[in-house]
Symmetry: C2
């Protein structure tokens, strides 16, 4: 793959201090937009990657109780035993399979879990399969350790669904892992059970790891049941599932995530985790225990609110010239396409400068989607309405022919 597509800052890549592997880390497109927006007035953000609701009261109270009880020292390396046990019970029930505390490790958010999983399996000469577009961390993490990637393109016209046969056809003799992310950031697409089963079955047969990032697993609309890779796989030898409390309970700043895998994989990852962060935050692990034992009202109310926003956003995108939308079934993103050949980064930059609406350029999420922009509806209905009062007239004036 060509590094030029990653928008490398040449000055830094030539600095002899740094490990050349650091060149695989691109300049983050989100950061550039948000920094520019920070210098402007009257910006409406459709760029937000965390929930805009406050964390539930029982979660906040549990953290406070833990602090008052002196829970400010290290936990065990795998995590707080009470949280590991609670997660084991919760996932055993949800995925209808037996999981124990030894199948789980608590991390500093899902990011550390993904970092550990991908960098622990990537190495020179190894091949990985990643959807495109995808969360912008996967590909650089793999490339940092020398792995090579085949990107499986998805399209707005097909609701950004992943074709499992395309994934299977891309498997090579040196394929080590397949990365899945459902619901997807940036597309909001939820993969059906059939897609997961087909990929997981083939991966198990070929001895390939599936690394499934399920951080949006509770943001599923229209009353659908969520197909987790955990429910679609017969065993755990070829599967690592990552999730966190960040999106489900508005706890992004508490940085509590986890990885679920075979006991052997967890044993190995625990050692690596000691080197990256030692352990996760102790009082906020108690917050997680409270979240799992609390009522589901917070999630239900959140879904009602996000469904309204999604439905309105889908309508507004339909009414917008030059944008091809679809109805996402999960997360809080929509990833509409501009006409083929249009530079989405230019459109996002001009939208911000000329209308004050901040979106994220599609190329942040992969090589196939430079004509797209990511819209987040983790903001009020009022903001979504006001944003499109600016976007629609602006788009009407554009001639992308």
């Amino acid at each position: 793959m060509s590094l030029s597509s990653l928008d490398i800052d040449l000055y830094e890549s030539e600095d002899p201090i740094w490990n050349p592997a650091m060149m695989a880390i691109p300049v983050p497109g989100i950061r550039k937009m948000v920094n520019m927006a920070a210098s402007m007035e009257d910006v409406i953000h459709l760029s937000i990657g965390q929930p805009d609701l406050p964390a539930p009261e029982n979660v906040v109270n549990a953290t406070i109780e833990a602090l008052r009880a002196g829970q400010t020292g290290y936990t065990m390396d795998a995590g707080l035993p009470e949280l590991l046990e609670s997660l084991a019970v919760y996932y055993s029930s949800r995925s209808q399979r037996k999981l124990t505390a030894d199948n789980i490790m608590i991390t500093t958010g899902a990011t550390e879990a993904i970092y550990l999983a991908l960098t622990a399996v990537s190495a020179p000469g190894r091949h990985f399969i990643v959807p495109d577009p995808a969360f912008m961390l996967y590909a650089p993490m793999i490339r940092m350790n020398g792995g090579e990637i085949t990107e499986i393109t998805t399209r707005a016209e097909k609701n950004h669904q992943l074709d499992p046969q395309e994934v299977i056809d891309a498997i090579q003799p040196n394929t080590h892992a397949i990365v899945l992310n459902s619901p997807s950031n940036p597309t909001g697409t939820v993969y059906p059970k059939e897609t997961l089963e087909a990929i997981l079955q083939e991966a198990a047969y070929r001895g390939i790891q599936v690394i499934s990032d399920e951080v949006y697993d509770h943001l599923i609309y229209d009353g659908k049941e969520y197909p987790s890779a955990l429910s679609c796989s017969t065993d755990l030898d070829n599967l690592m599932v990552v999730s966190s409390f960040s999106k489900t309970y508005s706890m992004a700043g508490m940085r509590i995530g986890w990885i679920i895998a075979s006991q052997g994989a967890i044993k190995r990852l625990r050692r690596y985790h000691m080197f990256t962060t030692t352990v996760a935050n102790t009082p906020c692990q108690w917050a997680g225990v409270a979240a799992l034992h609390g009522s589901n009202d917070f999630i239900q109310n959140m879904l009602v609110e996000y469904t309204k926003r999604r439905d309105r956003l889908v309508e507004l995108v339909e009414q917008t010239p030059h944008l091809t939308g679809y109805k996402p079934e999960g997360a809080f993103y929509l990833f509409p396409a501009l006409p083929e050949g249009v530079n989405g980064t230019n459109v996002a930059l001009r939208l911000l400068k000329e209308t004050g609406v901040c979106t994220i350029p599609g190329e942040t999420f992969g090589n196939s989607c430079s004509n797209a922009i990511r819209l987040s509806y983790s903001t009020s209905l009022g903001n979504i309405e006001r944003a499109f009062e600016r976007i629609i007239p602006w788009m009407e004036k554009q001639d992308f022919g």
Copy 2:
């Protein structure tokens, strides 16, 4: 260097799932001892690596206030601006040099900061200089990314002081960085200003990075002033300093550390940090702001308490047959030597099994110190006394000839 010295678990190293670089991660000696101790009754721990005092009240209260104020979302990638500013003011005053928020990044404890610094500069063909014994994370982090290490041995007979000329003589044309840790874990040794100045001056002249781990920088006894690498270096181009709140304010489980470096280095490390953990814990960053703005009484009282423990431990080690001690000037560790050729791991295991006193085998901290054990005095004076009531008679019975 030979991997066999790292006590690799052969089953795991042969598992084809994992990146071969993971072989550089040893089985942690501390974990083995603590796990064995967990299955026993009436164990006295001289193995503890975090303060045994509760966190200060103002720190706990600030975290609670932040939680109540809804501070549960992400901060900026470099950290909470209020904490960055507070650290810049604090360090500018303490080190008598101008530092800005752009010279600092907040991390998930010092561990993440050290991980980022070392793995961002280590690469195949690069050479590093590390004291031996040293904190057990440095060498594997360097080796994971292909770097090679020269270990500079220190000795109990010389208070484990580092000879700066030995460090300078070990510099090779491909030397990329020198790792320093003062006060040292496991020795408690504080390097004098002259040692730091000699090494930093030579490193700057040769374009070599110095990575200075200063997490015990407030645990300095006998009223001495702490020589930080920040005060001993003329510029920041060749220096990265790591510290945290964990040891100074009993906040280990809150996982807030930082790295101080040139603005260019921080810019590069911020991108990498996005990939490992995204950002640090938000409510506990507010705890850090309170810690820096609070009174010094907590630290002063802690020093009074730890000084008593250290002085008593030094006396008890002097009274113990077969142990060569010294008077450590910082941290909360003493790293006495057994006679040359005695296997410290066997001694630590037998001490635990036969007396119920848990210490850490010296080989955990490097290749030169297999005849040592680490004693932590982060435990009550009563526990220290009781431990030696068991250790001294046991040692009297040993014949290591």
